[in-house]
Subunit: 335 residues, 2 copies
């Protein structure tokens, strides 16, 4: 039986939510990942040191062992330098949402005024705190990410020492930015390596494939695959796994988000093997992130096996991507 071993897998973009949902989903990630960048878009968002500390405690209480590190983030606002200096040891990154652009982002940034953001972003540069960005405008749904490139360009050129992570990129336009600016990086989800808009609304309407940014065109998928499969040194895996209760997905007005946490490594093995690039998966799923973020996760060794695995219909009421379908890799052991 063909196997593949991954060391210290990292999920550099994860939604764990809170309360019962947190208790249900956090163990699924903690089982197979050494650590994850945890998004701060709770209600209300995570904006203080107390919020960060308390949320981290709730996460640790929800995971069954100590071999998982939640890398905590703050919800971007214009913070002053003193505050940022006080939280630098407790926060791995700060996540910027344009206001209203996705789930629980109402308190985000409504205008990208570089001067207003300067104190915060210069302090982050100095302190070495990366800026994670949900890069979408409020334009036409297929153009939102491409339209945001001018904002990335303004941020990258005004703050050349700031590490800027273009989160969950979905377009060739974003891929093309990677080699234009030294301080731009990106995460890519597993579902954006598999889906195009056809998988959302091309046949029947598929709510469990519906997310923001929405899956794009075939040529965008090709561009994402090209940098992921080569494990481009500025690209990291970030699942953007986003759990919603089944009733919020399978209803009129379905919420955005694809739930992939428990099947992400299996699907990544399948994709990378399909293109004969399994040797690059370690970089994509851990080593690039360790280098970019300067983090040293605790040891974890995950061995996957090539054998049929039927994706469960639900994990505690949350429907995963490919629910009920058979995929070709399964997790065999975690040490």
């Amino acid at each position: 039986m063909k196997t593949h071993t991954l060391l210290m897998p990292l999920d550099m973009h994860l939604h764990l939510r809170d309360g019962i949902m947190l208790e249900n989903v956090a163990p699924l990630t903690a089982y197979s990942f050494s650590g994850a960048i945890v998004m701060p878009n709770l209600v209300p968002p995570v904006t203080t040191l107390e919020d960060v500390t308390a949320y981290k405690e709730r996460i640790m209480a929800a995971v069954p062992n100590d071999f998982f590190e939640p890398y905590m983030t703050l919800f971007y606002k214009n913070y002053d330098k003193k505050f940022l200096a006080s939280i630098v040891d407790d926060v791995t990154a700060i996540k910027l949402y344009p206001a209203g652009i996705t789930t629980n982002s109402e308190g985000g940034v409504s205008s990208f005024d570089i001067q207003e953001m300067r104190e915060t972003l210069e302090a982050m540069s100095t302190l070495g705190i990366p800026l994670c960005v949900h890069g979408e405008t409020d334009g036409f749904v297929m153009d939102r990410e491409a339209e945001f490139m001018t904002i990335y360009e303004a941020l990258a050129t005004n703050f050349p020492e700031l590490k800027i992570i273009m989160e969950h990129i979905t377009t060739k336009a974003a891929v093309d930015m990677l080699d234009k600016f030294d301080n731009l990086y990106a995460t890519i989800t597993v579902h954006h390596l598999l889906l195009i808009l056809d998988d959302v609304v091309g046949g029947m309407m598929m709510p469990h494939n519906f997310c923001k940014p929405i899956a794009k065109r075939p040529e965008d998928l090709d561009a994402l695959l090209s940098v992921a499969l080569e494990a481009h040194p500025k690209v990291m895996f970030g699942s953007d796994s986003a759990p919603h209760p089944r009733e919020k997905k399978e209803s009129c007005g379905c919420a955005a988000g694809v739930f992939t946490a428990p099947i992400a490594l299996q699907l990544l093995c399948e994709i990378f093997e399909q293109y004969d690039k399994l040797d690059n998966l370690q970089d994509f799923v851990s080593d690039n992130a360790q280098r970019i973020y300067g983090i040293c996760p605790e040891f974890k060794e995950v061995t996957l096996e090539k054998r049929p695995f039927v994706v469960p219909e639900s994990y505690s009421g949350v429907v995963p991507m490919y629910a009920g379908n058979t995929i070709n890799w399964a997790i065999e052991t975690v040490d």
Copy 2:
């Protein structure tokens, strides 16, 4: 109170289904329209004179009065000339579906081989039977209609005497064809004069706005509005109103189709008034179709009034577009 009167409104593209659904929805169209082109994509599709006659009888049994004419269509196959001559008095048009492209289209055309289609299409030209076409390829969902333009071009140039109706057009590409070929015409739905892809998947996922062809880009909407509002002489209103039971729309794997029959005239008044083009609505909703198809519907006079109208949450279990929302025109009298 502002009012607007329409004479003999016609819906040149309508799904009435069969059985209980037919009984529920047919009266809604018959109430305010003088006639409608009735689509033949039943299961199994309408392909014989017996099918046409029996379906027409079921429709007439479902409508409460005699002032509604169902213009019957056949499901396109390669029919011989003799058969076509035998049905010319009973069939208003023949509807062509690419195989598998939309609801109940599995028996459609799988390759557009002009030579194989020649006998049928030449006979239709001679007999004056229009060809109604669902013009989509099986390509990327946003490109399917634009990609089909080469097939329209081949049909239009090979059969210059055939009236070809591009059904429910959604793109600038299709609009641009109208003035290129004398024998190309089009229907436009009311929902494609209101929706873009943003209204389907730009915010939450909205199944009741999900249809095929899918709503497109803002510039496509502008192109559709330009020819509809001017009542371009080759453009007709066709609702493509497509009822599905609520449970087939509000579920994982939602079926394609927007149900507009009972609110179409109200919405058209609202749109045409908004652009100060109410004077052109009569042409768009009846006169152009009468001239293009050579039909003389029975007299019906529908007077609409500008006043708030709350769209019902459902009509016999079928959820209409804008359910629960207030629109600005209502039907006042039908004589």
